[in-house]
């Protein structure tokens, strides 16, 4: 697509995409901000602050995309998917479990963000695609940080690290994988309660997004990250199996 056009379906797609992206980036800001007090060194604190700042830049960039597309970003007070993700994150904050927070934010959420942004690239207008390309590259950097942290943790405490991934897989990754499930919302979505894809999947499909590829792509990026961190392939397969189909 070379230029954003104002047909109702395109506008609906941009409204959905930018709203979800802004919501996700806003969650990212909140998450990194909650991690800062738990940082062990000033260097780590500054790094997390910078991560939050970059998420802010992404949010502003997505608002620009929405503005160019002539759509208003929806700001829901509660979202059935993100609420669950944030609740899981809060639990780990309450436990002051910084590693658990890294796994949720830098591994699971960033893997998800990378997949969503990169999946949308082919159907975006040129300016939006440029903005999203920059954001996706940033998210890949966050993911790389997560991999480094996870690898270090796994080499020191394999059992404790696996426990953290178990938690993040069950409480966060499975929720995200649920959102990208294709048939999950027929007749009524078991998570958001909306009928027949009215949560937006149909709009994505109508815009030419390969919705069916979301889940396998998420499994690939998320699984690669876990294996790169040194987690055993058999454990990774079990985690992925719990998200798929």
């Amino acid at each position: 697509m070379s230029e954003t056009t104002a047909t109702p379906s395109v506008a609906q797609f941009y409204r959905l995409f930018t709203s979800q992206a802004v919501l996700g980036e806003s969650v990212g800001i909140q998450h990194y901000a909650q991690m800062i007090p738990l940082a062990r060194t000033n260097r780590e604190r500054l790094h997390l602050l910078e991560d939050a700042w970059r998420e802010r830049a992404h949010l502003l960039s997505m608002q620009e995309v929405a503005k160019r597309a002539g759509v208003v970003v929806a700001e829901p007070k509660t979202d059935p998917y993100w609420s669950k993700v944030m609740a899981a994150f809060r639990e780990k904050v309450a436990e002051a479990d910084l590693l658990g927070l890294y796994v949720i934010q830098d591994i699971v959420l960033e893997a998800y963000a990378v997949v969503l942004y990169e999946s949308l690239l082919p159907v975006l207008d040129d300016k939006s695609a440029s903005a999203v390309t920059v954001i996706a590259a940033d998210e890949r950097e966050h993911l790389a940080t997560g991999i480094r942290v996870l690898a270090d943790a796994y080499s020191k405490d394999p059992e404790g690290t696996v426990e953290r991934v178990n938690f993040a897989n069950e409480r966060v990754a499975s929720v995200l994988a649920g959102w990208v499930k294709v048939e999950d919302c027929v007749p009524v979505c078991g998570v958001c309660g909306m009928v027949g894809g009215s949560c937006g999947k149909d709009d994505l499909r109508a815009a030419g997004v390969d919705v069916e590829q979301f889940q396998p792509a998420f499994a690939e990026v998320y699984g690669d990250a876990l294996r790169e961190a040194g987690l055993p392939p058999e454990s990774v397969m079990r985690w992925l199996a719990r998200l798929l189909a």
Binding site: E183, Q215, E220, R227, P233, E234, M237, A241
Partner: protein, 338 residues
């Protein structure tokens, strides 16, 4: 720990993937519907599924990783060669990334590689073996275990890599097999190379076979064996099985039995389509190469299997406690089950 061997393979059907997925998910989650599983597998990228340590009778062992290529080869769900090659390449790349020293292509991953004319070893800087030399050696040994050189051995898929290898090995041992295949030109070339070897259609050869060896790349049950006499052993090396169901003397063949613990430490994933305690010879070839430190594309496909190389590999495998599996006929297995 980096793997020495990377096994690249796939399960035999969407149903096997469904069973594996259900087992991996655990009992608290529902079993996904078969059509959903098939759609998912088609879209999944190859990935390392598990690591393993294969022990040898010599006391050494080899560390390896199994990479599932997520190839669907069922007739109905089968994917195009182009899509399959994309997956095979991705699986090869995963093997190279894992740091393996030799890759073993199992099942259709080797067939796809061979049909594509791609040189995977050169492309990924990692020697890949099709594993077909050990498969052919095992099959020839299994034929020898049930029939002497005077027997009329019918080789279905005789022009293929494994089939031509079996023909050469048996011919060197005095057998004069009958070749059956879809491609007349390579069949004729092989018959010319091996004096006394003849060519026939399956319809002609089936009723008079003393032993039938099925090594064709068909979908499940792709070869109708109803005309084969009920006393004739059918050695089915297909994965999925080539033989149509119902023949009492059909046995899974081209598999290896381990002298050491069950399946020699190789995981369930790799044993798809094998009888208990056995494993696909093509995958075992990878383990033997790893144990021996032979980091080379020992089997390169395209009809290059030679009797001396097959004998060398079979000997090496035996040193490690890996020998051609005993033939278990459906008739006997059914009787045991009763």
């Amino acid at each position: 720990m980096k793997p020495t061997v990377a096994w690249l393979g796939h399960l035999a059907s969407p149903l096997e993937y469904q069973v594996a997925l259900a087992a991996l998910r655990g009992p608290d989650l529902p079993v996904p519907a078969l059509d959903k599983v098939a759609a998912l597998v088609e879209r999944l990228s190859p990935m390392p599924a598990c690591t393993t340590e294969v022990p040898s009778l010599t006391g050494s062992s080899v560390h390896g990783v199994y990479i599932d290529a997520f190839l669907l080869i069922d007739g109905r769900d089968g994917m195009s060669l182009r899509a399959a090659l994309r997956k095979v390449r991705a699986a090869c790349a995963a093997a190279a990334r894992a740091g393996a020293k030799v890759g073993a292509l199992g099942g259709f991953t080797s067939i796809v590689g061979e049909r594509s004319s791609a040189d995977l070893s050169a492309e990924f800087g990692l020697p890949f073996t099709t594993g077909n030399t050990l498969t052919a050696a095992c099959l020839a040994a299994q034929v020898e275990s049930v029939a002497d050189a005077s027997a009329r051995v019918v080789l279905v898929g005789g022009a293929g890599d494994v089939g031509s290898g079996v023909a050469r090995i048996l011919h060197a041992r005095g057998y004069r097999p009958v070749l059956v295949g879809r491609r007349p030109q390579p069949l004729a070339a092989l018959a010319e190379e091996l004096p006394g070897v003849s060519i026939a259609t399956w319809e002609e050869a089936a009723p008079t076979a003393d032993v039938a060896v099925l090594v064709a790349s068909t979908g499940p049950g792709g070869i109708d064996v109803s005309a084969v006499p009920h006393t004739t052993p059918i050695l089915d090396a297909g994965h999925p099985p080539n033989a149509s169901p119902g023949h009492p003397m059909t046995a899974t063949a081209g598999r290896v039995a381990f002298a050491l613990p069950e399946r020699g430490g190789l995981p369930e994933f790799i044993s798809s389509g094998c009888d208990e305690g056995e494993h696909h010879a093509c995958m075992v070839e990878g383990a033997v190469l790893g144990l021996e430190g032979w980091f080379e594309p020992y089997s390169q496909g395209r009809g290059l299997i030679r009797p001396d190389r097959a004998a060398k590999l079979l000997d090496a495998a035996a040193r490690h406690g890996m020998t051609p599996g005993p033939l278990r006929y459906r008739r006997d297995m059914a009787a045991e089950a009763d």
